[in-house]
Point group: C2
DNA sequence: CGTGACATTGACTAGTATCAACCAAAGTGG
DNA sequence: CCACTTTGGTTGATACTAGTCAATGTCACG
């Protein structure tokens, strides 16, 4: 709201130079500055925060958090996309969500309850768990923000349970396309994208399958089916045009 | 700097006697006094809190929160069990979780994102959403507690997504039985119950099916199968004896 | 131009849903 | 008190969705 100004004039007592440099180079102009956690903080708070963070750059494919390992850190995504997943010993995998700029990773418990992997080159802020605790005490606004984010996470989880437990393959794909459009802010929450809206889809078919509880073959067939029906177009593997969003919505919610 | 303290205190000087009486009769000796939200508060805080709450008793089967309705209240369960679910227009239903003593219901958004129904006779504390906001400002410990609870909720949701997206019917049933044992505190978190542990199962087969993303027939068949294999016993519809928990765990996590 | 990774399409199979019969326990009413 | 109904659960036969296995296609890259 009022946080667009430069940070120069507001100074915390300690570690200023390092923190300020860090904040200037990595926080103030960060892609996530007005998303998620950081959006809940003022510029001066951010400078302080920045001192507690380590800034990491990871290559695509990097597994940086693994289910069952001791939980040492928590992360805030700056840029790129991360997949969160659980796996069974025989290799079956369920992606439980995707984390983009401003999203948190690794808040729960003494152990990591989930694995996290960069899908593209990713930049992250990393905090120690102890650091998180003191941050929460230091900045109560942060706690409120975290609670909001967690609530939203729960809602998304419930929607996904409905999808995984009760929807058919075609319904899953249709639901996914619409929710992904919302995620990309192509349309407002609860609204349909306009006809012919173009979606960029950084996921592989394997990711899609593991997110929707299907196989890649079924994903492929379902997409082909929607294409044949004239509801979507697939100009390239990572792009989908939603020709008739309303028709997709009808399938997604089994209306009519 | 932050909005901490901006919401005016609603401490009503006159209503204290009423509140105190209410706390004594309904909070201090409440079944949920040392669970969930209430466990985060001191006795005197609880007295205050009690003034903001309405105490409700609902019969089994009562639908008291409906997906899509404006979110007016939030609830804290005192006794009994509540099922939370989402449904599709054609009647398909997915139960996303169960709320027992100390659990919260209805924290997210302007609309209810989920429906809630009493499974047995249930006692609840009901708060207005405005009341919740002021409570959070008044008792920061509450916010921390809520965050903890929300985190746990997210972890459970992720486990359920793995179950719904990737496990077979037999694996789902086995997983469920073990997680239900943990819920009933028959064994510590992450531990197996002892052989021959007895589980009380207030759910109908329909609830079980809608929770596990199966049909009642498949639930029934899977239970029969486990019985035939000698892994469980079913002395009555609402009781199950876990004869060989380790074998169940092997199935649940597809080990071996 | 060949190679390898990823995606699509086809043929067949398996696991779960569906449809239907049967069963047991718990009311309900004459 | 006992037939009758209702409700919820189990078991069986069959159908169908999605999974598996395999061949083919496409595209990026050396």
């Amino acid at each position: 709201m009022s946080n667009f100004g430069r940070i120069a004039s507001l100074r915390p007592p300690v570690a200023i130079n390092l923190a300020e440099r860090s904040a200037a180079s990595s926080c103030g102009d960060c892609g996530a500055r007005h998303h998620g956690m950081c959006d809940a903080l003022s510029d001066e708070e951010l400078i302080f925060l920045s001192g507690a963070a380590q800034h990491l750059s990871l290559p695509a494919g990097k597994l940086f958090m693994e289910e069952g390992e001791p939980a040492q850190y928590f992360y805030n995504v700056n840029s790129g996309t991360v997949r969160l997943f659980k796996a069974l010993p025989d290799g079956r995998r369920q992606i439980t969500g995707f984390a983009g700029p401003g999203h948190f990773i690794g808040l729960a418990g003494e152990m990591n309850m989930i694995s996290a992997e960069a899908m593209e080159p990713v930049r992250l802020c990393r905090f120690s768990r102890a650091g998180l605790r003191s941050m929460l005490t230091e900045f109560p606004a942060l706690e409120r923000k975290l609670l909001d984010v967690a609530m939203h996470e729960i809602v998304l989880g419930q929607q996904q349970m409905l999808l995984l437990g009760r929807k058919t393959a075609l319904e899953r794909i249709s639901s996914f396309l619409l929710s992904w459009a919302q995620r990309q802010e192509i349309c407002g929450p609860g609204k349909l994208p306009r006809p012919h809206a173009r979606l960029s889809l950084p996921l592989s078919r394997t990711d899609l399958a593991d997110y929707l509880g299907l196989t890649i073959e079924t994903v492929s067939r379902s997409l082909s089916h929607l294409k044949k029906q004239g509801l979507i177009e697939i100009p390239s593997i990572h792009e989908i045009v939603l020709l008739r969003p309303q028709a997709l919505a009808d399938i997604a919610e089994a209306a009519g």
